[in-house]
């Protein structure tokens, strides 16, 4: 087998991204959809760090982008879980099918 190149790492991040997409398509529960979004954000982070290391090693821009993405993901998870808990209080369910009063 060939030594590890950038393509191998990009394969992992592509596969992780589409696993997250599959979860986002099939799950109907808000918390599990949030978990799918976390997987997608992680695959993007892997991409940033790998491109920085393999193609542009003189600068640190990819590392900074991934650190900022992690910080934004933390903020997003906190807000999303607050919203989910509030929805649970009002509807007694966190299934996306039950939260349709703003639909029409």
């Amino acid at each position: 087998m060939s030594p590890i190149s950038l393509n191998h790492i990009l394969f992992i991040s592509t596969a992780l991204f589409f696993i997250g997409m599959y979860g986002l398509f099939t799950r109907r529960n808000m918390i599990t959809m949030l978990m799918a979004i976390e997987l997608i954000l992680n695959s993007v982070n892997i991409n940033f760090v790998a491109f920085n290391k393999y193609l542009w090693p003189g600068n640190l821009d990819g590392v900074f982008f991934s650190i900022f993405i992690i910080a934004i993901a933390a903020a997003e998870a906190a807000v999303a879980i607050a919203i989910i808990i509030n929805i649970y209080r009002n509807h007694n369910s966190i299934d996306v099918a039950d939260t349709e009063e703003m639909k029409y």
């Binding site: 790492i9 760090v49 807000v79």
Partner: protein, 172 residues
């Protein structure tokens, strides 16, 4: 194939298998635990790439923060012992097809692009260098995004407290 490659393949398999299990397991608590292992695997991949600072941040924020938050919200909102309802067969089939085609086409693009670079070049990511550039106000510094993201985090935390607060009318 040396030890470095074997470690890489093991890490990749660990990440992907735990990711698939996290997205398909019908017990929500187990799904959260598989997600935890997948995120630990990603941190291991960062260690493998010798980007120790990002790996440490990944473990602290994701494994120590976000997954714990998710597990707490599962306890607050779910009957954890029960299975989640099975998704629609047709939806499962078509999303699997869409995902497989998407992954295949994306990886074909990546393969045909032919990225060069073998990772043997010098890549200095010491925390000292990251910290100096993070607080640098010169051309390549990140002082402004750093300040903006601190405001964003503050706003998000206050916002989530306000959203999750019980209002007086609700209690009555």
């Amino acid at each position: 194939m040396n030890a470095n490659d074997i470690i890489f393949y093991l890490l990749g398999a660990f990440i992907l298998v735990n990711g698939i299990l996290a997205m398909t397991n019908r017990k929500i608590f187990r799904a959260a635990i598989f997600l935890l292992f997948s995120l630990i695997g990603v941190a291991g991949l960062y260690f493998w790439m010798h980007v120790e600072f990002v790996a440490a941040v990944q473990i602290i924020v994701y494994v120590g923060g976000i997954v714990v938050l998710i597990i707490f919200s599962i306890f607050l909102t779910q009957q954890t012992g029960q299975d989640m309802p099975k998704p629609n067969k047709m939806r499962m089939l078509f999303s699997a097809l869409a995902v497989l085609f998407g992954a295949g086409f994306t990886y074909m693009l990546i393969r045909n692009h032919g990225f060069i670079g073998d990772g043997n070049n010098q890549f200095d990511v010491s925390p000292q260098r990251i910290g100096e550039q993070m607080l640098d106000t010169e051309q390549s510094g990140y002082a402004l995004p750093f300040e903006v993201i601190s405001i964003l985090l503050l706003a998000a935390m206050i916002g989530s407290i306000v959203i999750a607060l019980k209002s007086k009318a609700q209690e009555a």
